[in-house]
Amino acid sequence: MARVPAPDFRTLTLRTAAISFVVLAAGAAAALLAAASTEDGVHLWDVVRTTLIFVTTAWLAWGAAGAFVGLPNRRRGVVPPPLTLPQPPTVVLVPICNEDPVTTFARIAAMDGSIRAAGLNVDIAILSDTRDDLAAARERDAFARLLAETGGAGRLFYRRRMDNRGRKAGNIEDFIRTSGGAYRFAVILDADSLMEGETIRHLIARMQADPKLGLLQTLPKIIGARSLFGRAMQFSAAFHAPVFARGLARMQGATGPFWGHNAIIRVKAFAESCGLPALNGQPPFGGHILSHDYVEAALLARAGWKVELDETIEGSFEEGPDNILAHARRDRRWCQGNLQHARLLAAPGLAPWSRFVFVQGIFAYVASLFWGAFLIASIAAAVTAPPPNYFPEPYQLFPVFPSDRTKEIVTLALGIVGLLLLPKLSILGAAALSDRTRGFGGKARAAGSVLAEIVLSSLLAPVMLMYQSRAVMQVLAGRDGGWPANQRGEGRLGPGQSLVAGFWIFAGGAIALAAVKMLAPSLAIWLLPICLPMLAAPFLIWASSHPIARGLFTTPEETDPSPVIRSFHRWQASLSQPAAQPKEALDAAA
């Protein structure tokens, strides 16, 4: 297969514009800080913090640039390609590992019904990596019941690996090696994914229409959140994420992202190019590739296949963490996976943009350390600054007072806050103009939800920064976080649990504030927005895990759930009841 073509003019222009914006914003931030801090001469700490503000602002500006690029809607009136008959053989893959089988198989029953309602003939394969024998026994019983109640024998499959080498990537790879020859396309899901049959029909048609398309990624909407934290994320994923994803899609072009699930692959392309080796050495940097999805996207592009993201595809869903601890646990795994990509930066033959995506992923985590380092450098600069010299010239009659640089510092602070807020406010403005706010409860309610999300994310940002910094340092220290099982639906946290989990952040905030108050009291007020949420970390962790009423953070999927979501809830209720038929009859039917 030919190498991936060079990015088109539009993609190149957008990339150039985004990078120029980043350099300008970071340069302006560095210039303002340099002007303010070198009033008394250039010192080492001034150079350090000016460099750090350049790097950290560049990261913020990159996020903002993605949103600005994604703000304009896609061209309207593009007719999706029809499905060409005969329908190519397709399978939906659901890798699971120690999941609650009732909930998982209720999703599968709902998708199976939706697929048949869409007139498709698509198999579903449950690929179990469950290690615990008792949990596996429960899976078997639940699957036997699923077969009996759906009549799914011959289209619903279940197999359990005895050796779960390579974790999820290895699980998918094992299926492709063993059964891939039977299918042209595979829809890869997570255990908590849901997808409409019509969506799968659309994905197959898109793959048929473009023979060079190796992978098409959808933007899954988060559903089922109940807590303050979960619902804020769910709202953000529905309201903000499509714009950020559109920006990402435009800038990545044909070397798009793969997020590991809710995507369709061309089995031949995947088999040819995505056999992942284990890296030399021990985890966290060696061993099996943890964040395999980014690597698989890069490998497909290397082999000349197009990888695209289309955020407009509806009917694709997933669930998210319902509290900060579950989020931090998942983030620890992603952190290790992204830092491991440092080993692959020089992998032969990758598209330059694929390497850049690896760098971005690494930076997403290392940025937390840079912010921490910037704060420390700022305190060190204040502590080590020489006292003002009011009489710099000999025989000077009148004192020279240092000029006031408050204006530069305030401008810098406003600029950084602007980079954080402007994308979200722009998305709100664009949504209000296009009437997209209707599904979010109307303009006023959507505006309220956006503002509440901004307040909550600002409060939680220092807590997240601490968790991320700890994760990065653990990985750099050589500690392997492994792949802890997801604890879906764990939800509400108790006060003791929150205190234990957040005490170290509280202690860090208290020590930082006391140290600043003692060493550089003038900086204390600037550090309050960071230190106060740190002091409140146990409370924030506890409070944000509690369920909230549906008025705030309303999403379209709540007010008008997709048919597959309704069906999932019906199946969940049904499978939660004892089987109507005797067990022997179920086994016979299975």
Partner: protein, 57 residues
């Protein structure tokens, strides 16, 4: 109601049957080369240099 309460593993009788398994249709999936060879240059050398000390504690 979770599966723990609904299904008693000790009493479970379902046995993974042949027809539960996906169709057998093997295809090749060659292992890809990801790590740069030693001659690949400065980035690989720097990456190894930076990561090796921390990797081994």
């Amino acid at each position: 109601m979770s599966a723990e309460r609904l299904i008693e593993p000790e009493a479970s009788t379902a046995v993974e049957d042949m027809h539960w398994a996906p169709p057998f249709a093997p295809i090749e999936m060659p292992r890809q080369v990801l790590e740069a060879p030693h001659r690949a240059g400065v980035i690989a050398w720097l990456t190894r240099l930076l990561l090796r000390p921390v990797q081994h504690g």
